[in-house]
Amino acid sequence: MAKAQDLIFLSTQLRPIDEAQKVRDVILKGAPKTSYVVDEPSPFTVRMKAEVEANKHTISLVGALHGELQPLLPMGALEPIDDVAASLKDRGIPAGLMDLGKLGTGKQMYIPWMQATYVMVVNKKALPFLPAGADVNALTYQQLAEWGKTMNEKTGQRRLGFPAGPKGLFARFLQGNLYPSYTASMVTEFRSAEAETMWNDFKAVWAQSNPNSTSYDFMQEPLMAGEVLVAWDHIARVKDALQQAPNDYLVVAPPAGPKGRSYMPVIAGLAIAKGAPDRKGAAELIMHLTKPETQLITASEVGFFPVVNATLPANLSPGVKLLAEGVAKTQTAKDAVVALLPVGLGDKGGEFNKVYVDTFQRIVLRNEPVRATLDAQADVMRSIMAATKAPCWAPDKASEGACPVK
């Protein structure tokens, strides 16, 4: 149980019991005395809001994804931490990541904590069915569809898989991988001709995807069950499969479209709650968690990778090593395009995701006409951008004022 005098570190990351225990026993070793408390994203937001509204503060340090920290800003739950940022200048956190931590303000609102991305996991059983001339490390979406088709014909089942279930991260696939690979954009070119081509291509991919995809939350389960042979997901959500049978799988970069091989880095950040009972302790904890040693321990224990300049040790467990290689392949692909997590959407992040998922649902699942659907959904997107006044983020070109939807 949390003791009253301990610093409370509330996190939406590393929630499963064994991961949380690793945080307590290994990662936080040598840090100021801390109660590590985890919560799901939605109750997390509610709790932060409640503390602000009741003006009764128990939480000092907050650890959450970029997109989960963002809604805390408008509700006034975050404390600017430029002083902390200044004291860890020598850690080598890339400037781009530090900028994300400003959440569109002039001040540092969070410090990058750890990073991950989305990759494709390939069961080696699928390799014989690769289309002629295709390189598994440099696939295109058309080749993925073709591959799925051959697997379907040869194994009698649709073996591609996407986490499009209620808790799956499918919206990130559409925003971070699919859209920018075809349009070099996430928002501005939402209803472009390229987007139309993209949806038609993706329909062919979906036609070879396991029909249970709309129920998958974590792809490691259908991968381990052998239901799916090729899957896209967040590295933390395929880790169990890779650790259980590292010899059975490859981790490769997601497919490319005409505009490149887009990927979306995921950033978890550490923020100090406004009115934190122990601001000093929280700042010390941030220093501890961003030490290169701690970052390496974090990578090998839980499979989230360093944000600081640190070389991964050679003795990583085989599963984590596969992930590290997969992430490296994704980030260093010749045609790599970086798509950033949405910035400046405040509490509209959920509705932003909904635009993509609704579009998918209408075009792919309900077979509505592509052009008309894109036009209608672009209106919804426009109203979100207008309401939040969020300027464009990569890969869209910087904008004056709200990011336009052409």
Binding site: G156, G165, A225, E227, G350, E351
Partner: protein
């Protein structure tokens, strides 16, 4: 004595205060929230709800589930209750077994049925051994809406028929034996006895059971969510998604208000249809 006049009010005060604080206040807050449309105006949230691509589907699914599940449950419960009444021995044991699902949470019940019906579940294993199917067959995804609907309906019937059964059994016990015996003496067939004596005497229990089950059925969610995820959207599920995923509490509140209005309307209909005319009781 003045105290005796106030005593009843004093005794109901804790319950009333409790309900007012934990029910009426959030209710009013929800209604206020649902009309707080920001720039979109007074009915903005309702417009968004009505315009959402899942609204019609979830409304249709919810009504279809209620209209399928509740009548089947009523028939099953009446049948089971009548059979229990005829039992001489072991009646308590059977009643006890039949009411086990009462003790299972709806989410757990959903997960039980998921374990049975999923690709690698018990049903497929059984069918595979019988040679009916030659591998894992999917029953619960968006491409198999019919089997998905049946699965959810079966789970709901399994889970919540016991509530109806308990009410019906209690009602049956209140019917004096003499009525049935009198009907027999006048030569009534078993069917006539059921429709002319038992069911009319059971009306108050049927009314309570119907209201309770229908209101709960409109709130169906956890079992559906466990079995079908969002492949079979229902109203409460949409409220949950708007609140949790889309983080728009106002549209979620609009859904909540809609569900409340539907439940109240259903209750009013039952109260009217099954009303006991005062003279009929004399």
């Amino acid at each position: 004595m003045p105290t005796s006049r106030w005593l009843p009010y004093l005794l109901i005060a804790p319950a009333s205060v409790f309900l007012a604080v934990f029910f009426a206040v959030p209710l009013v807050q929800t209604i206020v929230l649902s009309f707080d449309g920001g720039t979109a105006g007074f009915f903005g949230n309702y417009q968004r709800m009505l315009g959402d691509l899942n609204f019609n589907v979830s409304l249709r699914n919810t009504f279809m589930l209620v209209l399928t599940v509740v009548p089947l449950q009523m028939m099953l419960a009446i049948g089971m209750g009548l059979m229990l009444q005829k039992m001489q021995r072991g009646r308590d044991v059977v009643l006890w077994i039949w009411t086990i699902p009462l003790g299972v949470s709806d989410l757990a019940a959903g997960l039980v049925w998921l374990a049975i019906l999923q690709n690698t579940g018990y049903l497929n294993t059984f069918l595979f051994h019988l040679g009916v199917i030659d591998g894992p067959t999917a029953w619960l995804n968006s491409e198999t809406p019919v089997t998905l609907f049946i699965a959810v309906a079966v789970a709901e019937i399994w889970r919540s028929t016991a509530v109806v059964l308990v009410i019906i059994v209690a009602g049956l016990q209140l019917i004096p034996k003499e009525f049935g015996e009198a009907a027999e003496i006048f030569g009534a067939s078993p069917w006539q006895k059921l429709t002319r004596v038992t069911l009319p005497m059971l009306k108050p229990s049927l009314q309570s059971a119907l209201i309770l089950r229908t209101v709960l059925a409109f709130e169906v969610f956890a079992a559906v969510y466990a079995i079908g995820g969002r492949n079979i959207p229902v109203l409460v599920g949409e409220a949950y998604v708007w609140q949790r995923d889309n983080q728009n509490y106002s549209v979620a509140a609009a859904y909540a208000v809609l569900i409340m209005v539907i439940s109240l309307a259903a209750t009013a209909v039952y109260l009217r249809l099954l009303r006991e005319k005062p003279e009929a009781r004399a």
